[in-house]
Amino acid sequence: MLGNRPQEKEPEGESRMKYDILLCGVGGQGVLSIAAVIAQAAVMEGLQVKQSEVHGMAQRGGAVQAHLRISSTSIHSDLIPKGSASLLLSMEPLESLRYLPYLSNDGVLLSAREPVVNIPNYPDIDSVLTVIQRYPRHLIIPALEIARKIGSPRSSNMVLVGAASKFLPLSPETLKKVIEGLFHQKGDGVVQSNLSAFEAGRRES
């Protein structure tokens, strides 16, 4: 078996696509659903995927993160190395700051604007948003507000998927197909509101 690791050979140069996404938020916000939609879309487009999630205790209202790695070739680590994420996608502004060290210098920081204040020492929200705005490639989306406007406050995570779709190496059609599949069981109404949330987020981006 000496030296026999052909599956780990990387193709030369530019043919290799790699896109790391660090997703975060607060337990119960639907971070894992965002990860599931993007990961499934990547699989449908024939890409390699690794998606590391947090289960168990941390999910109880605590800080939640998911590492999602997409590549045209094999992916080794389940965790994203620091400084290598192309996208930091956060459902909560303060949480986005926690994972900045993972974001590459030309990566995109995309966060929902609405805070989840379930800790006594939550900093002033304007100061949190100011820190995000200091970063050149940032985008703050009023995800909850948009979701409420289209009458579906629970779809704010799909608003963020829509906003992120402008940056993802995936076609919006594939993403929409996955959203349809994901909510299919819950009926047409739920599918439509999630698709509207996706479109509204995409327009905002």
């Binding site: 078996m1 998606q51 168990g56 994203i80």
Partner: protein
């Protein structure tokens, strides 16, 4: 067969299903829970996949199935193996018949655990085979193959995974399923009764199997030696031994490293001695990258100076941290590469932690509020607690449980504190944890009429691990507790809701002051479980 995107846990589950397993037993515990759940959800007919009272009963039930010839899977988290340690260690001496595979999920970094013990030490202790997958595909392949190996060597086989693999999803290519073993009509009991005279013989047999196990791991492709240097060892910076997902972090950094180093990956234990020696002969330093405790590194170092002055680096010399889980960046540093940092956050900006907490309106929170009220009058009271969501009450603003040690210890520690002289001792324990390990110490309390109050928080579910059903339905607890001999006048059921706070405080205060064994069962359904049930119902409609 089609490629499937599976969690490491799910891949292990599917490997067992396709490996012809007939029964799967377990007790929920992060990060192992999704193994049994996957079988229940996607293979509801066969094999049988069920939750058990605790890891010990799960392991023994699996043993029973193996005895009559069927293949059996048993799953648990690392600390669960402590509970199952008795049958686990003894089962290594048996003539295992139907393949018996124990998948143990370790939790380095303690994402959801009380310690970070490494199950490879247990496999070594029991002198059995241990396979350690590095990715989801291997989790499938190894679990599947573990059944064959268990039958071939007639020993239980451990598959050890860790949190990051257990809870990371990636592509798995399954192979066609194997049939289940037939049930033996005639069972040969030889090698299954560990009376001392027989056990000595069985132990000698286990010892004599060791060379066969070693031959297997020496030849196994799971232990892969690559890129051995041919030149002078001093011209090579160092060699690398990886194990489990440590390999992924090494390979992740290979691009930056710019060249392959002599590398031995270990995926099957006992340690492949010859392969390690071969690697050592080609280098002057070995870096060990393993997830968990420094098992391999400790074996390599021994006590006496190493021959040829070879240097071993890893967790013991702090090249990698001794505690916590591995990360690609930690391995990067250990490889001597420049660290990479992304976008810096101004150090002056306050980044308060956001720890997990009880859900808003959680029944446990309401019971704790009542207890907190009583503590104002009884500040000397000792409050022991246990493993579950309610452990979150140990931090402010509630800060009520004083002790959280292991499953069931709330009740036993309350007994000890009371017998040592404390007047008001209260054990706070969840329904599932009580059934798991709280009953036996309550028998101690009844036998000696120890003045303790056990508060059973009965939310009808194993909440922390995602809402599995408690093994006995809500409503059975009063009869069970009375059956143990607790005076029925001191077995009280209350509704854990703030609207009953006044009367609940009165009842709790009275029972805590009662100088005998009392049990207060605080009942209300877990909010998460109720929400899930509702959304399932909506889906059906």
């Amino acid at each position: 067969m089609e490629t499937m995107a599976l969690l490491g846990d799910e891949a292990a589950a599917l490997g067992a299903v396709h490996g012809g397993v007939s029964v799967a037993y377990g007790y929920p515990g992060t990060p192992s829970t999704e193994i049994i759940e996957y079988i229940q959800r996607f293979h509801p007919q066969r094999p049988l996949a069920v939750w058990c009272t605790n890891e010990k009963t799960a392991y023994e039930e699996a043993l029973g199935a193996s005895y009559v010839g069927r293949r059996a899977l048993v799953t648990m988290k690392h600390v669960g193996l402590n509970v199952a340690a008795d049958p686990f260690i003894n089962s290594a001496l048996l003539n295992i018949r139907g393949g018996l595979v124990v998948v143990v999920a370790d939790d380095p970094g303690m994402h959801s655990s009380q310690n970070e013990q490494d199950s490879r030490f247990y496999a070594d202790f029991a002198k059995i085979l241990c396979l350690e997958p590095s990715n989801q595909q291997e989790a499938y392949d190894m679990t599947r193959e573990a059944f064959d190996l268990s039958e071939r060597f007639q020993i239980p086989v451990m598959v050890r995974i860790t949190t990051r693999l257990a809870h990371s999803r990636s592509g798995v290519n399954p192979s066609p399923p194997r049939h289940e073993n037939p049930l033996l009509s005639q069972v040969d009991p030889s090698g299954w009764a560990l009376l001392p005279a027989f056990a000595r013989k069985q132990y000698a047999q286990l010892l004599s199997k060791q060379k066969d196990l070693l031959t297997f791991t020496e030849q196994s492709p799971y232990n892969q030696l690559s890129f051995l240097g041919k030149g002078d060892p001093s011209s090579i910076p160092f060699g690398v031994i990886t194990a489990g997902i440590g390999k992924n972090y090494y390979l992740e950094n290979l691009d930056s490293l710019g060249k392959e180093l002599p590398h031995l990956h270990i995926g099957a234990y006992p340690l492949p001695v010859e392969k390690i020696r071969k690697l050592a002969a080609s280098v002057t330093r070995i870096l060990v990258i393993e997830e968990g405790m420094p098992f391999i590194e400790t074996c390599l170092r021994g006590v006496l100076p190493l021959p040829h002055g070879i240097q071993i680096s890893g967790k013991l010399d702090q090249t990698l941290p001794l505690a916590g889980e591995l990360e690609p960046d930690l391995v990067r540093k250990a490889l001597g590469l420049q660290s990479r940092e992304g976008v810096p956050l101004s150090s002056s900006f306050p980044l308060p932690p956001r720890p997990p907490q009880l859900c808003q309106g959680c029944p446990h929170g309401d019971t704790y509020a009542s207890i907190k009220n009583i503590l104002k009058e009884l500040p000397e009271a000792v409050i022991t607690s246990d493993i579950g969501c309610y452990a979150l009450g140990a931090v402010p603003p509630l800060a009520i449980p004083e002790t959280i040690v292991c499953m069931g210890a709330s009740v036993s520690m309350a007994v000890g504190a009371a017998e040592a002289g404390k007047k008001h001792t209260v054990a706070v324990i969840g329904d599932s944890t009580f059934l798991h390990s709280g009953i036996t110490p309550l028998i101690d309390a009844v036998a000696r009429n120890v003045p303790i109050t056990v508060v059973i928080l009965d939310n009808g579910t194993v909440a922390m691990t995602g809402g599995q059903e408690t093994i006995l339905p809500t409503g059975n607890l009063p009869a069970l507790v009375q059956g143990l001999g607790v005076d029925p006048a001191h077995v009280i059921t209350i509704e854990a809701h703030r609207r009953h706070e006044k009367e609940n405080i009165e009842i709790l205060k009275r029972e805590i002051q009662y100088p005998g064994v009392s049990v207060v069962i605080a009942v209300r359904e877990c909010l998460e479980t109720a929400r899930k049930k509702k959304s399932q119902k909506e889906r059906v409609e």
